[in-house]
Symmetry: C2
Subunit: 225 residues, 2 copies
Amino acid sequence: MKEGPDISRVAALIGDPARANILTALMSGKALTAAELAEEAGVTPQTASSHIARLAAGGLVTTRRQGRHKYVALASDEVGTVLESLIGLAARSGHLRTRTGPRDSALRHARVCYNHLAGDLGVQVYDSLTVRGMLAPEGEALAITHAGRRFAEAFGIALAPLERRRAPLCRNCLDWSARRYHLGGALGRAMLARMEAADWLTRGEGRVLTLTRKGKAGFAESFPG
Amino acid sequence: MKEGPDISRVAALIGDPARANILTALMSGKALTAAELAEEAGVTPQTASSHIARLAAGGLVTTRRQGRHKYVALASDEVGTVLESLIGLAARSGHLRTRTGPRDSALRHARVCYNHLAGDLGVQVYDSLTVRGMLAPEGEALAITHAGRRFAEAFGIALAPLERRRAPLCRNCLDWSARRYHLGGALGRAMLARMEAADWLTRGEGRVLTLTRKGKAGFAESFPG
DNA sequence: CAATTGCTTCGATGGAGGTCGAAGGATGAA
DNA sequence: TTCATCCTTCGACCTCCATCGAAGCAATTG
């Protein structure tokens, strides 16, 4: 009937609430077991099993058996990118959930977005780096400056191995809660890993990140407003 | 149950084949009437009317009455971007349609992708500009060089007004048919408009573009391999 | 070897929604 | 006004599929 790839199949996969919850939970970047995903999605293990099988058949997730556990993860960065762009579009179109849970405010403050830092804290980092000339946004694109490279190395991040990969080093990532940009890409992931290693942040339930006392001081010093 | 914008609602809207066809047809950038969309989607006018109402309620399209016609268009560039990224994901995940129509090969050669040039011809332009140092890709980002600015102005494109807009000037757009990048963004749109004005290309059925004799010579001269 | 845990398959149920025929506006043309 | 065209609403049908109970398989534990 029409030409091109069948976009509706992929969209229909994401279009079920239970599957969307599963995919959203996987955006933390961690591999989760089928039982955990069932809990996240609010369905029974049987139902989750069927959904996971569909997502895997559709190429959106990969599964790996380990003992009697089945670990599920997003199939690629591209899937995560598509999900984030859908979240952005949904937020702008006013498709907010009717029920906002108690974790909501904590999520707005600091959360994981495919292994990089998002939320108000992520926006603060982005703004601080941009104002001080470490990052150079050009439209939707984002480049790192020489000053930014020095800063990253001083922060404990080796840029060279990150740049050898095909994935972009810096990427503007649109924050659905703040409607502002935060730092994605390989550098964003490396920075979050560094912050976790330095005990600035601890992972809470789901995608929530909690700021430690040490982190509070560290952010104020390294990323002044 | 979960936090954040409701991604599944938007995805479910795109997830119906008829609606996906409608949205894909609108990616030409033109506003189409309800009857035309019904034809494109392969459903009756009643069904199309219902789908259009849902898409409008979901914020994906805008409608405008003009006489007894109802013109439908994508609501924003962001919707087009999400659709393209979904097309890319679908193509990589192997969700190709079972039936490939006769227009398929023409589409692979040259087509409209949200008002800029895509297909083999679009990739040729992109590669030619990149090799000759007019465009500077950095990861997923894309910048225009000084040489590129001179080239664009000589091609009859005033860059200043384009840069005042918030939308990016250059954007890498992933081609589902060639799996390579072509030039999107404001500059991509301006170049296609210029090519059409110069009678290099004519719009065929749907998103198909046909190369004229004049255009054949023009491409060979302006965008040598 | 049980017993327990984690996942999957099968079958039945129920609901959501896509589809079109028929009829009813709404707009413009003759 | 009358007609034709375009779109919409209503109602009925029907398919698809999400969901869960029950049972079965697989792997670890005692």
